[in-house]
């Protein structure tokens, strides 16, 4: 056997964790796809028809999980913002920015599905119903958050400012909810039936739970991809700053 002298393979210290991450991402994507398919089947076939609302009620299985994910995403923005203020780490900032972006998308879904449901049920696309209004105000606050990010040029300053906004926005949520509720209850208006009482049939509850799991996984997947993208963007920005 002849020994051919070859250069030892170049050691990439990041290779192993990178492969692990990629595998993790792949599994997350597959699980998300499976549970989303399950949700689709559950929402359209398995769940019984609502006797009063008819097929329109099935939008509930997208609406409620989106609302849940929206709140979860904004909670993560809040936590990551505190992380930015305490550590000044760019990593926290990437998580906050990414979670806010994904949260705004899901909140948009909440508002749109709410409107689609409201049209046949209440006869109007929009009613200033407390929960819908609260989500609208929430949406406005986090769109503002994203707008501020795009207006501040310097990365470190952007991270700090956005973090302050992320903290104020989240702590403002209870105030928004209370004031909107009081505003509607004191204001005479069309009486809005409570669409989701706690007595949900078993099949409906099961599908709802699948929905919440599926949407949480979807959120995790999107957040992961978005944080990855932000990291690459930051690295590129740093490299450009070095070469120029």
């Amino acid at each position: 056997m002849t020994h051919t002298p070859t250069a030892p393979p170049r050691k990439d210290p990041d290779a192993a964790p990178r492969t692990a991450r990629r595998t993790g991402l792949r599994w997350l994507a597959v699980t998300t796809a499976v549970t989303l398919t399950l949700l689709l089947y559950g929402a359209l076939v398995h769940a019984p028809q609502d006797r009063l609302q008819g097929p329109v009620q099935r939008i509930f299985y997208l609406h409620v999980p989106s609302a849940w994910v929206g709140m979860l995403a904004f909670l993560v923005v809040f936590v990551a913002s505190i992380g930015v203020l305490m550590t000044r780490s760019r990593r926290w900032d990437r998580v906050a920015a990414s979670s806010a972006e994904v949260g705004v998308v899901f909140t948009t879904v909440v508002i749109l599905t709410g409107m689609l449901w409201a049209r046949p049920m209440w006869g109007v696309f929009w009613s200033w119903e407390p929960r819908l209004t609260s989500y609208f105000v929430l949406w406005l606050m986090y769109v503002t958050y994203l707008a501020l990010r795009s207006y501040v040029v310097e990365p470190d300053r952007r991270a700090r400012y956005a973090a302050v906004l992320g903290v104020v926005a989240f702590l403002n949520v209870p105030l928004v909810y209370v004031s909107v509720r009081l505003w509607r209850s004191l204001h005479p208006g069309p009486v809005v039936a409570n669409p989701d009482g706690p007595q949900l049939p078993g099949e409906m509850l099961a599908v709802l739970l699948v929905g919440i799991v599926a949407f949480t996984l979807l959120w995790l997947l999107l957040l992961w991809l978005r944080v990855d993208l932000a990291a690459r963007r930051d690295a590129l920005e740093a490299r450009e700053a070095m070469t120029s």
């Binding site: 203020l85 105000v137 406005l140 606050m141 769109v143 503002t144 707008a147 501020l148 207006y151 501040v152 040029v153 310097e154 300053r157 700090r160 400012y161 973090a163 302050v164 906004l165 903290v167 104020v168 926005a169 702590l171 403002n172 105030l175 928004v176 209370v178 004031s179 909107v180 009081l182 505003w183 004191l186």
Partner: protein, 225 residues
């Protein structure tokens, strides 16, 4: 120097500048008056909903004059780099925030004291017994809005768009305070006492406390250079 004493010194400096130039007061006073006049043309100010419309008109005038005045007063610190002097001086950062809140509050309250009687006449209001609730509402909501606007305008001066973005930043966050202020004012204009608007006053107290405390807690992260 204690936080509070430093804050009053900074506020006194702002008031001294204002007394010499009268830039901010003249601008926001006229602006508030103009909003009352213009909205009176565009909304029905008579009839059963008169008090509700008047409450809305008043708060639109107050909100936008606060945005204009606070935006100007904070941007002023950055002209000739006055803020650098304040940041390097041996006072707590919280004092700068508190001082700006105090001086902004003084400007805005001065304008409100001027505008309220004019609005009462122009909009034919009869608050009568509701005057106490009206004063309380204006005081609490103004404190909340000024604290919020002072905090956010510090960010606005460092954006690409400068002061233009300030209303966009503040208004979504001010919604709960605005709802409570308008509703409590409506009760007051109908002659109600504070007891008739307890929930609204509680929202205003919570808003004022929240924005003031958050301002004190986070301001140092905004001026750190």
């Amino acid at each position: 120097m204690s936080t509070w004493r430093a804050a009053t010194r900074i506020a006194a400096k702002d008031l001294r500048i204002e007394l010499r130039t009268r830039d901010v007061l003249t601008a926001i006073g006229l602006f508030a008056l103009l909003i009352v006049v213009v909205t009176s043309f565009s909304l029905p100010t008579t009839g059963v909903h008169r008090d509700a419309v008047a409450a809305g008109v008043l708060w639109m005038a107050f909100l936008f004059s606060i945005l204009l005045g606070v935006g100007r007063a904070v941007a002023m610190e950055y002209e000739d780099a006055c803020i650098d002097g304040l940041v390097t001086s041996p006072v707590p950062r919280e004092s700068i925030f508190l001082g700006k809140v105090l001086s902004n509050l003084a400007f805005v309250v001065a304008v409100q004291v001027l505008i309220l009687p004019i609005a009462v006449v122009l909009l034919q209001l009869e608050p009568g017994r509701g005057i106490g609730l009206l004063a309380l509402t204006v005081a609490l909501a103004t404190l909340a809005l000024v604290a919020l606007a002072t905090l956010f305008s510090t960010m606005a001066v460092h954006t690409r768009t400068r002061e233009v973005i300030l209303p966009v930043l503040v208004v979504p966050f001010a919604i709960p305070v605005m709802i409570a202020a308008v509703k409590a004012t409506e009760v007051a204009l109908a002659g109600g006492t504070p007891v008739a608007a307890t929930s609204w006053l509680l929202v205003l107290v919570a808003g004022a406390a929240l924005f003031l405390l958050l301002g004190l807690a986070t301001y140092r992260h905004l001026v750190e250079e």
